[in-house]
Symmetry: C2
Subunit: 336 residues, 2 copies
Amino acid sequence: MNKRPTISDVAQAAGVSLMSVSRAMNNRPGLSEETRKKILSIADQLGYRPSGVARALATKRSSTVGLMMPDVTNPFFSQIAKGAEDLAYAMGYNIFLVNTDEDIKREIKALHSLFEKQVDGVILCSPRLPFDQLKKHIEHFQFTALINRELNSPRSDCVTININDAYGSALAIKHFSNQGHKKIAFLTGPEESISRERRLKGFIQALETHSIPYDENLVLPCSPDTTGGYHAATALLSGRDDITAILSFNDLVAFGAIQACDELGKDIPNQVAVIGFDDIPLASIMKPKLSTLRTNKRELGHRAMQAFRAYTNGEENIIRQQTLEPTLILRESTLG
Amino acid sequence: MNKRPTISDVAQAAGVSLMSVSRAMNNRPGLSEETRKKILSIADQLGYRPSGVARALATKRSSTVGLMMPDVTNPFFSQIAKGAEDLAYAMGYNIFLVNTDEDIKREIKALHSLFEKQVDGVILCSPRLPFDQLKKHIEHFQFTALINRELNSPRSDCVTININDAYGSALAIKHFSNQGHKKIAFLTGPEESISRERRLKGFIQALETHSIPYDENLVLPCSPDTTGGYHAATALLSGRDDITAILSFNDLVAFGAIQACDELGKDIPNQVAVIGFDDIPLASIMKPKLSTLRTNKRELGHRAMQAFRAYTNGEENIIRQQTLEPTLILRESTLG
DNA sequence: ATAATCTACGTTAGCGCTAACTTATTATGC
DNA sequence: GCATAATAAGTTAGCGCTAACGTAGATTAT
C-alpha cells in the first residue's frame, strides 16, 4: 500500500492551489472548464480520492448514517437494512451497522460509538432503551428515525415509523372469528418488546369486538424465533384440544408453532389455524404455506432514509409519525 | 441538539491542557490518578465524547472496517455480517455495510466509498470484480479479507477465507451414490458465481469418482433463490422420471426445487432426493426437513475479523488462506 | 474613462484531535 | 547535597480538507 495521495499532491502536480483542486473535486463553480478538466485528469492519474475523514472534520458532515438493530440475521431487520442502504447508496451515504442483540448495555454502547463516529443521523430499530434514556441520546444526534417505537414528545429532528401492530392483530382476530374460532392463543414474543405490547393490546381489543372472552392463559411470551414458538406452542397445546387458532409474534414463531402442532399430531389448519407476522420470504415456501400479516420491511428502512434526506434538505413538511398498515395474507395455515 | 463539546471545552472546564484530557480519555500514562479522575468526571458531566473523525485524521486510524456483500437480505451473508460485527464490536470497531446487488459497477463504487471513508480494512464477500481490478483495489486498502474468493498472488495484507465447495459437492455425490442414485442433477446458481464454479468442478469430479456418467443436461444455472430453484427444477423435471437426486446451489434453491417437485407430484425423498447448501436456520424447519451441506457462516465473518485483528496487532503467523469444510447434514429430503 | 461587477483563481485559518517534543516538579542514587 | 532520573504535566505542529475572505485581471455599465 503506497502512501495515499492528498489534495496537496494533486495541487502540486497540477500547478494550482488546494482550493482549485477542492473545487474541482466537489464540482463547485469558480473554475474554468479547462482547469477543472486538467485537475480531474491529474487526480485520476494519481488515484486521488478525497479523504472523507478530513472532509468530515472540515465540513462537520460525515455522509454517514448509523443503523442500529437487534440482529441483522433476523430477516425482518435485514430487509430494513437493505431498504435503508439502498437509498443511502443513492444519496452517497454510507451506513454503519450495529447489532445490539437485544441487550440494553450494548445498545447504549452502540449509540455512543455512533455518536463518536459523528454520523449525520441514526436509524434505531426497536430500541429497548427506557424512554428517558432514549430521549437523551436522541438529543445528541442531528437526526433520528425510530423504527418500531413511538416518541411521546414530538421533535423536528425525529421521525417515528411504525407498523400498525394493533391493526394487524385485529385483522387476524377478525379472520379467526369469521372462521368460527373461539379459543385463540397468542404467542407474543419477548416480554420487553414494544411490538408485543401493541399487538397484545390489539389482540385483547379485537377479542372484545368479536365478543370472544379473553383468557390470559392463552397468551404466552416466547423468544422471537422458531425455538420460542415451538416451546410455547408445545406448552400451550399439550393435553388439550380446545385451542383452534394461534396468532404468532412473527413468522419464525409461527413456524415453530406449526412444528409443535405437527409433533402433537394436530392438523393444520383443520385442528389448529396459525397466522404469523411479517411475511418473510420463506412464509410462502413453507408447508403448509403460512398465512401471515405482511409488513413492508424494505419500506420501513426506505422511509427512514427518505425522512433523513428530507430533513437534511431542509424540507418543511416532514411527516413525523408514519405508520405502515399490515395486510393479511391468507395461505394454507388457516381455514377458508 | 446543543453544540457538541470538544476536547478544549473539557480542558478549560478542568483547568488542564488539551493533552491531559487526551491522555485521560485514551487511558494513557502521564497523569496522576487524581487529575485523571477529575478530567473524566468533568468530561462525563459535559457529555463529552471524543470526535472519531478528528481522531482518525490525527492518528490515521479510523477504527472502522468496510463490509461489502451482494445482499444482507440473504441469510448466508447476514450471518457473515453478524459474525464480523460481533468481533468488531468487541474490538471497538464499527462496520460500514455496503450492498452491491451483484452489480459490478456498484461494487466498484462501494470500494471507492470505503476507501474515501478511510476504513482500516475491508471484508469483501463474493466479489464479482475481475481479478486484475480486484487486485488493484486491494492494494489501496491496508488490509483485505476475501470471503468466497481466491487470490493467486499471496499478499501479507490479504487473507482469503473460503468454503471448500468442491468437497461439499463431493460429500453430496458420495451420499447420493451410496443411496444408488445414478441420475443426479445440479442446480448451480448464477453463472458468474465463484462458488458455482468450484462446486461444479467438485460435482463433475465426484461423479467420476463414483463412476457416474456426467450429463451436462442435468446441470442448470439459476438465480440463487427459491424462485430460481423452482423454475430450474420445473424445467428439469417436467415430463421425465429418471432424475432421482438434486444437488442445489443453496438452501433457498433447494426449497424452490422441493416446491417444484411438489407441484409435479414427485415425492421427496422417494422419487427425488434433494440436498441443499448452507444450512440456513429454516432448513431444519421446512417440511421435509432439508438435508444440506452446512457451512459455518458466522465463522466466516468471525475469521475475517480475527485475521484483521491479528494483522493490526502485527502478529506474524497469520494464515493467509483459510478453508472451512462443509459437513453433510442428513434430514428428511434424502433417503437413508 | 472610471467605477462597478464578475471571473478565476489564491491565501489563511481552523475543524478536533494526537505525536512528539519541551518544561517544571518531585523522587532517587551515591 | 547535588546530579540524575522519573513523573506530570504543557506546547507546538500538523493530519487533509473546506469556508471565508482576498485579489488580480477582464468585462460591463454609465
